[in-house]
């Protein structure tokens, strides 16, 4: 190439040589000493040279025209290099002119086309200058692009809406003692209205500058600088997303940090995460994707490449938090949060798949699905452990007063929240083994609840209820007094039935279960009456040996003993308490009235310690949970 340069003449020199040769040919042509053949060759050569001259002359003209064009464009490009202002800030005219200049350079390069650099001299010089100017312009455009994107990015700060706060406040401690009925009463509306917000787009960049960005993309692509465009675009947009996450107060936590968090704090963060996932995936990333489509839609794979590079880090950061949650211990209180997380991810998974549908998005898609199934497995495992925890919750001492055991409160209130997650749950539990003994499906009622009583969740709920029941039986055995065993079982089974009847749980347990369990607690009530009162009433019976006075005395002592004991016992449900008092009355009062009626003439009043009315009144003191004694106050 270098050799050529020394031999090959420049454009002007070339013109001179052609002119000189033509001159020589003319002179030769005038000579008479030449053969015809030689003359012919000379004429041919002459005409050849003439056309050549014409060509080079027009080429020369074109070159100078091209050179002018380049000079003009270069001037515009160089002028901005010393200007501290940004072109697109200086007005649309300026921007159009600048782009015009770049296009002129492109035309120059284009028109030099084939000859350009392999040629020498003028064309080559022009081509080099054009490439150089193009590089400077591209560098400048990249900067302008960054600036436009940065200056015109738009933030929207969505209101932090608490989604799914259904399972608020169910917390677990080893004693199960902290759960009160009131805490769980926040059955909140489910995300009916939230779901509508899907499919909404935001303008992440002021729409009025989109054409500007697009025109930069077009010219950079035409100049073969699309990679540079993409890198700059990615950098800015990735940073904007990153910043947006901090606006949403998304914290970056290592897995180790997450595992160290206290439950309350973790629960708050999970709720926040759910919300952020929703905002980021269905709103922000959808909008980002649209922006990429608007700007890079014509550039094939660059479009998806940019989108993925912009979003990858943030998506992985979000998924990592989810991963940390599944890594942590599977305590029962986590179940609802896990289900919330699972549900939001299941809801968003189609959107995710379409956002990252390209091959290069498979990494994110796979991670997303891995987390989704991890959360499902974790929820399932947590639920199973919950069942096991109930079965193995052992007490050493009997629960005082025979009232509602905290475990029952906890479990029932916990279960009451599950119907909200029915669909998810059925999906997750589908393949689990089902204990057939709990597969009570009723066919006899007209309502179409049969499907809900036979779904996997229904089996599992009933299975949990049945482990709870056997646990209660174990616990009841801790009481030395049979009657208290019955009271305890009656109270607790009644509580279970009530919770089932008063909530959506009834659809899953079914009428059959409810009937059966009403029967059970009623049976315990009957057993109680028999266990406590049969012996008391039997004191009144004439056994042939005991005189009347003694029978009164023994009855009173027995009654007082029961009174002293059972006023301490507790039936928290007023209706249930009243019912039991009534059935107790029905057992005791008629027998006593009868006894008094028959014997009142044979015994003086001082031996009759209690009238029938007294007894009736005293029975109302039973099961209130505050111990009383009759030894002094009631004595007449």
């Amino acid at each position: 190439m270098c050799n050529c340069q020394t031999i090959m003449p420049s454009y002007e020199a070339e013109q001179h040589i052609i002119a000189a040769t033509q001159h020589i040919l003319k002179a030769l042509g005038a000579s008479k000493n030449l053969s015809d053949e030689f003359k012919r060759v000379l004429t041919e050569l002459d005409s050849h040279l003439s056309t050549m001259t014409i060509i080079t002359e027009t080429e020369g003209g074109r070159f100078s025209e091209i050179e002018e064009q380049l000079k003009h464009a270069e001037r515009k490009i160089i002028r901005w290099e010393s200007d501290p202002c940004l072109i697109w800030d200086s007005g649309p005219m300026e921007a159009t002119e600048y782009l015009q200049a770049v296009n002129e350079i492109l035309i120059v390069i284009e028109s030099l086309g084939g000859l350009s650099l392999s040629e020498n001299g003028k064309p080559k010089e022009i081509a080099l200058r054009a490439q150089n100017a193009l590089q400077r312009a591209m560098s400048r455009l990249e900067e302008e692009l960054c600036h436009i994107l940065f200056q015109h990015k738009q933030y929207f700060k969505p209101q932090y809406v608490l989604l799914h706060s259904r399972a608020e406040g169910v917390f677990y401690d080893e004693s199960f003692a902290s759960v009160e009925d009131e805490i769980v009463d926040e059955t909140s509306q489910r995300d009916g209205e939230d779901r509508e917000s899907a499919e909404c787009y935001l303008d992440l960049v002021d729409p009025c500058v989109i054409p500007n960005i697009k025109s930069i993309a077009n010219v950079m692509s035409a100049s073969n600088y699309i990679q540079e465009f993409c890198e700059a675009f990615i950098d800015i947009q990735r940073e904007a997303l990153y910043e947006y996450l901090s606006v949403l107060e998304m914290e970056k936590l290592s897995i180790e940090d997450v595992l160290k968090l206290e439950w309350d704090c973790l629960s708050r963060k999970i709720k926040k995460w759910i919300w952020i996932m929703k905002v980021i995936i269905s709103v922000y990333l959808a909008s980002e994707k649209r922006l990429c489509d608007q700007i890079l839609g014509d550039f094939g794979s660059f479009n998806s490449f940019c989108f993925i590079e912009i979003s990858k880090d943030s998506v992985l950061c979000l998924l990592n938090f989810g991963q940390a949650i599944t890594t942590g211990p599977q305590k029962p209180e986590k179940l609802f949060r896990l289900l919330d997380m699972y549900e939001i991810m299941a809801d968003l998974h189609l959107e995710m798949d379409s956002l990252f549908s390209e091959d290069n998005g498979s990494f994110i898609r796979i991670e997303y699905h891995k987390l989704l199934s991890g959360l499902g497995a974790s929820a399932r495992e947590t639920f199973m452990r919950f069942g096991n925890a109930i079965a193995s919750d052992a007490s050493i001492r009997p629960f005082p007063g025979g009232g509602i055991h905290p475990l029952v409160k906890y479990v029932m209130n916990y279960m009451r929240l599950l119907p909200d997650y029915c669909d998810t749950f059925n999906l997750l539990l589908k393949d689990q083994d089902i204990d057939e003994s709990n597969a009570v499906v009723e066919i006899d009622n007209g309502q179409d609840f049969s499907s809900s009583t036979s779904c996997p969740m229904a089996y599992h709920l009933r299975s949990i209820a049945s482990s709870l029941e056997s646990n209660l039986i174990d616990k009841s055995k801790l009481y030395k007094d049979d009657s208290l065993q019955y009271i305890f079982l009656m109270n607790n089974i009644h509580y279970m039935v009530k919770k089932v009847k008063d909530s959506d749980l009834r659809l899953f347990f079914g009428d059959e279960w409810i009937r059966k369990h009403i029967g059970k607690f009623q049976q315990h009530a009957t057993s109680y009456v028999r266990a406590t009162w049969s012996s008391v009433v039997s004191m009144l019976r004439d056994d042939g040996n005991t005189n009347l006075k003694e029978r009164y005395r023994r009855f009173s002592i027995a009654f007082e003993e029961v009174y002293k004991n059972q006023t301490r016992w507790c039936i928290p449900d007023l209706q249930l308490r009243e019912d039991l008092q009534i059935s107790t009355s029905q057992k005791v009062i008629p027998a006593y009235r009868n006894f008094v009626g028959i014997n009142n003439r044979n015994v003086s009043d001082k031996h009759v310690k209690y009238t029938t009315d007294d007894l009736e009144e005293l029975l109302l003191d039973l099961f209130v949970g505050s111990p009383r004694s009759l030894h002094n106050s009631r004595r007449r």
């Binding site: 590089q135 940065f150 290592s254 880090d313 992985l316 950061c317 299941a346």
Partner: protein
């Protein structure tokens, strides 16, 4: 639903392997035999890492992408075998007794730290992929024939971005504050006389990683309580736990050293391994070689131990120097030299293109494997706790 199919049971796969192993047994104590076999396999694998077989030695240079892929494979193999030794066919109550009642929780704690390291390293791979992009731009510019000023400048710019991005990642801690607060506003209308150009943001490792997280502290914490079982102790499972922990710490350490990672100061010090163990020799050999490389890096102030990255950095510096002195059309001799360097750079980014994505996928596999194993060990612990509990 896609992705929710249960993974093929790991234990199922292992049991097949165990049967195969026990079929080969000639020793009378299968447990002891198994332990020795485990150690032997670990030793073989690390020997292969230290001095690869001749036919692959040229492609598997220490700390190259393909070497790292092999390293990660070694981890996965050791881990699978370890779990077989630890869990399969063993009386679960054994792992609740001393010294395992202390060693297992320590192991699980290390596993959690390793998960965070996997994330950090995976993010580091994305950084390298960004360098790769810049290298690609530079190569395509410099491959233009003949090379002109515009293209040389274009390449210079890309190479400069490449080096800056590398430095940002390497100096993550110091750079974060300064770099990230730079604003494009400084070049706007607000200050028309300001001549400074806008700063470019580069991808930063801190996008995924928690703010104060430090890779070197993690490694330190993982190895601080790593002590070989003493001779007097009933070894039993204590030894394999130690072996696996050493493998884990070593692999994480090597990955952190090789790939861009947040806060890596003091990485040259490595944890001590007693030489008398069969596998110790090659692991110590590797520790020393990587440690030396790290010291060199710190001395030179270069940015990464990944072999391809080191070469990329060197080539980028050379080519920038060339670009600064370039005048069209350039001296023939120089141009030939440059062409060779460009070809080398092209070769590196091709290798990165082939190797980084699979390496990243492997590291994710390590991540998921650790998660799974941890869950399985926790289950065994849970089970064992239930058995040992007196029934009430």
């Amino acid at each position: 639903m896609p992705g929710t199919e249960p993974q093929p049971s790991f234990l199922g796969r292992i049991s097949i392997r165990r049967n195969q192993v026990s079929a080969m047994d000639v020793n009378h104590d299968p447990e002891l035999e198994e332990l020795e076999l485990f150690q032997k396999h670990v030793a073989d694998r690390f020997t292969d890492l230290l001095s690869p077989q001749e036919e692959v030695a040229s492609t598997e240079t220490l700390l190259s992408i393909s070497w790292l892929r092999k390293l990660v494979d070694v981890f996965l193999c050791c881990e699978a075998e370890f779990k077989a030794v630890l869990i399969m066919g063993r009386d679960p109550s054994q792992i609740c007794k001393p010294p395992l009642d202390r060693l297992i929780p320590e192991l699980l704690d290390r596993a959690v730290k390793a998960l965070d390291i996997c994330n950090a390293v995976s993010s580091g791979i994305d950084s390298v992929r960004q360098y790769q992009k810049f290298a690609e731009i530079a190569v395509s510019a410099l491959e233009q024939k003949p090379m002109d000023d515009g293209q040389v400048k274009r390449a210079r710019k890309a190479l400069n971005s490449l080096l800056t991005a590398m430095k940002v990642d390497d100096k993550e801690k110091d750079f974060k504050g300064a770099e990230r607060t730079w604003s494009f506003g400084r070049r706007g209308n607000t200050n028309p006389f300001h001549k400074e150009r806008a700063a470019r943001y580069f991808r930063s490792l801190s996008m995924i990683i928690a703010k104060n997280w430090s890779a070197s502290k993690q490694i330190q914490a993982m190895s601080s309580n790593l002590v070989p079982p003493r001779g007097g102790e009933p070894t039993g499972l204590a030894l394999p736990v130690y072996v696996m922990s050493s493998v884990m710490v070593f692999v994480m350490w090597a990955l952190v050293a090789a790939l861009p990672c947040q806060e890596r100061s003091g990485l040259a010090t490595h944890f001590p391994i007693p030489r008398q163990l069969t596998w110790a020799h090659s692991m110590i050999g590797l520790q020393e070689r990587i440690g030396e490389e790290w010291k060199k890096k710190e001395k030179k102030g270069s940015v990464g131990l990944l072999e391809e990255m080191q070469r990329m950095e060197k080539l980028a510096l050379n080519l920038i120097e060339f670009a600064d002195g370039f005048q069209f059309p350039g001296e023939t001799e120089k141009m030939e030299e440059v062409a060779a360097q460009v070809a080398e750079l092209a070769e590196i980014f091709r290798k990165m293109g082939e190797g980084l994505v699979p390496l990243q996928a492997q590291i994710r596999e390590v991540f998921h494997r650790i998660v799974r194993s941890r869950t399985e060990v926790l289950e065994v612990l849970d089970h064992a706790a239930k058995i040992s509990q007196p029934t009430t």
